[in-house]
Amino acid sequence: MSRRPFLRRQKSCPFSGPHAPKIDYKDVRLLQRFVSERGKIVPRRITAVSTKKQRELARAIKRARNLALLPFLIR
């Protein structure tokens, strides 16, 4: 019982690396993956997005919301 039952795999940021997608407020399909069922932005401890990219992502999501591409909330 002393060993940790779950070894957490190191996750890497989905926006870094050679084939990383560019964060763009127009790319609804991409942004939708980082929004919860209710329309909230998913924290980066779950999505493993790097701090810098998370800021960029949040900005993009907020722009998309403003343009009614993404909802502010889903009831």
Partner: protein
């Protein structure tokens, strides 16, 4: 001159050719101030994610601009005055995209369901029964994403 991207949503009850005319009008305002419109895209009549002025749909258009700041002020004013424009957003970009944007390349509705994160939100059902019953879609167990290990250990 700096680069900008401008997206506007026009009322759904005007025709596509009227949207064209709007774009033309905005292009002229920008050009009158010494700017250039390098690209314009019409995304079509899309469903809005929420209602704006009682409308559920809207004509989306994108303009790529290479224009001085003063032109933006004027464009802003014109769009705000125009009643056919439900909403607009102009952002400065480092470089203008060439070729069609993601909206055009990925089918009409950019909406497909990718694998998403986040099963349930924590604030759901706080106090009182949860609204709308169990969350639909996403058969994935919520435990997968939660901070499970810590609780698990504490329980033993």
């Amino acid at each position: 001159m700096p680069f900008y991207e401008s997206v506007y949503i026009a009322r759904p009850d005007i025709s596509a050719s009227q949207v064209e005319a709007l774009t033309q009008q905005f292009t002229e305002t920008v050009e009158a101030k010494g700017g250039k419109v390098t690209k314009n895209e019409y995304w079509g009549l899309r469903t809005l994610a929420y209602r704006i002025k009682k409308n559920r749909k809207g004509h989306f258009s994108l303009l790529n601009l290479d224009a001085p700041g003063e032109a933006l002020g004027e464009l802003d004013r014109v769009m705000r005055l125009n009643e056919d424009v439900l909403r607009y957003l102009t952002v400065r970009v480092d470089a203008l995209e060439e070729g069609p944007s993601v909206m055009m390349t990925r089918g009409r509705d950019g909406r497909g369901r990718g694998r998403g994160f986040g099963g349930r939100d924590r604030d759901r059902g706080r106090g009182g029964p949860p609204r709308g019953g169990p969350p639909k879609g996403e058969a994935r167990p919520a435990a997968e994403t939660g901070p499970a290990p810590a609780d698990r250990r504490a329980a033993q």
